[in-house]
Symmetry: C2
Subunit: 356 residues, 2 copies
Amino acid sequence: MYMELAVRMAERSVGLTAPNPPVGVIIVKNGEILSRGWTQIGGSPHAEMHAISQVRNKSLLKGSTMYSTLEPCSHRGKTPPCVDNIIKYKFKDVVISQIDKNPLVNGDGIKKLRNRGIRVTKTNFNNHMNKFNNIFFHSINKNKPHVCLKIASTADGKIATKTKDSKWITGKHSRMMGHYLRSKNDCILVGRGTVEKDNPSLNCRLPGLEHTSPDIFILDTNLSLSLNSKIFKLKNRKISIFHNSSNFNKKKYKKITLIRLNDNPDMLDIRKVIKLISWKGYHRILVEGGSQIGTSLLKNNLIDKIYWFRASKVIGGEGIGAISNLNIRKMNLVKKFKLENSTRVEDDTMDIYTRG
Amino acid sequence: MYMELAVRMAERSVGLTAPNPPVGVIIVKNGEILSRGWTQIGGSPHAEMHAISQVRNKSLLKGSTMYSTLEPCSHRGKTPPCVDNIIKYKFKDVVISQIDKNPLVNGDGIKKLRNRGIRVTKTNFNNHMNKFNNIFFHSINKNKPHVCLKIASTADGKIATKTKDSKWITGKHSRMMGHYLRSKNDCILVGRGTVEKDNPSLNCRLPGLEHTSPDIFILDTNLSLSLNSKIFKLKNRKISIFHNSSNFNKKKYKKITLIRLNDNPDMLDIRKVIKLISWKGYHRILVEGGSQIGTSLLKNNLIDKIYWFRASKVIGGEGIGAISNLNIRKMNLVKKFKLENSTRVEDDTMDIYTRG
């Protein structure tokens, strides 16, 4: 039960903790919960320290048990190693859900605790939490971050009319769910076309979650995007542009991180883009808009999840499709997914597909 | 409660009773159910007579109450008027859900019963049943039958690859639901292309429901369809072809009803087709296959319901879309529907849309 609560704590911080993973902690003594914590925005303090910090009388911690969804860290990053504090405050037991496969930890935290007489137990009971942790492990160990594609289409799979009118396809509540997705991902990736056409803010506008808007990555091969777009006027948002241009005015871009990819002059290699985003410490990427980006990701089998919002409307054949040409000729070659969930959202449906 | 049961009886016969409506009947005496009945296949016996026929000792009927989802008929069609039998067997009460708006009845049944001292009550409690009855009223009074479009597509709205491969888009259980739809409609309408490409049987292959396969209407402007298609070799199936050809061998088509429409030489007028089908006594039309038929119906606002089965697969832009060109330029002109229901069927979804 305590681990279940710890998982709930971890869930609070999903999408907000990059470059660190979301972790949840519950501290228990004599059957009573002393404190709870979760990884804070930007990754620190860690969940362990967040939970400990909330106990005013630190002497109470002596002899208590810590439930954590991940092995406590043993290395010094932005913060001192958590195991040092667990030892310092004389915890008796530590129960973890999974070993931290980050090569900097990977069992070392457990070893250090055990060396100091603290009992460490592993209860691998929660698959859901393992999924969270595995996203982190995949990203840091294999540079394979979790890529989530969001699509808002009509029933017949169109994202705009032939004149590119798309306001609005889906209803208010679907769009709010879209904002929630922005909150639950570390960063957002869009194409130049989407910024040009929709002039979006790409922020989370849900009341109380405004501070959880993700960092932004834009694909703009020739750096042709106007800096007058709304997106470049937002405060407190980190923006990076992937491009392939040698000829530009650096001064103009001083607040923006430019990342030049020197391969194909006409098109950015989406595999490199995703790897670099992961390498920069982002583990959950939300891809919004631009059927071209979605299509390239699909071609390269890089999509882990699709949130597909569908309005009860029909645009017809000439509309712009959610996915562009994949050159699939036979049914045995189609891209297959698993249907994780299917929900009704007002007059729309929200179907969640995962890697098939 | 008895009327609720009568509605259940009526539901059994939906799609099987053309040219008559599906009706359900419960006969009650002293708080006990004496019998139940529903309209039989092809429309006769009527539900009233079906229920009465199941009571061996007819003297038991004296003083009993009949619950019927529709006003009993007062005219002689294939069968004698039901009110005559209600009078003959000395029913005391008749409770109906709705007056039969068929101009041949329209309150006349009630009048005849009341004239003979039988109490008639109208309990308009069941909206669901009214929907059933209204489909019948619309069809016979306005020649507006209920048109249900079935679509089986990928998540991105494609019904085949660019090479027209489509086996199979959706899973086994979705296809079984498709067979159930065939059972629940009076007739099925397809285009020449579908018959040519898929060579389908268009029957209901659900165990125990094989006898409920609907009659078939095909659109074949130039009568170019080969009579070697599987469909023409089926036994006990009525097949009609709408065409616009003056030059054909009548002998070849002796088992088939040919209906010539003399308007546009290149295309059949879908509005006329639907009216004629209704005029022939079919009130529920299932449209399967051929994105062209679906598109023409959509353009003419003739679709009452869409069953949209969606597989968790993606074919991409060059695939064949479920709906063809509608020439819609702006979002305020898109075709809008209501989402009646959204269900998961294995790894597919089944979304039911109704007239918006």
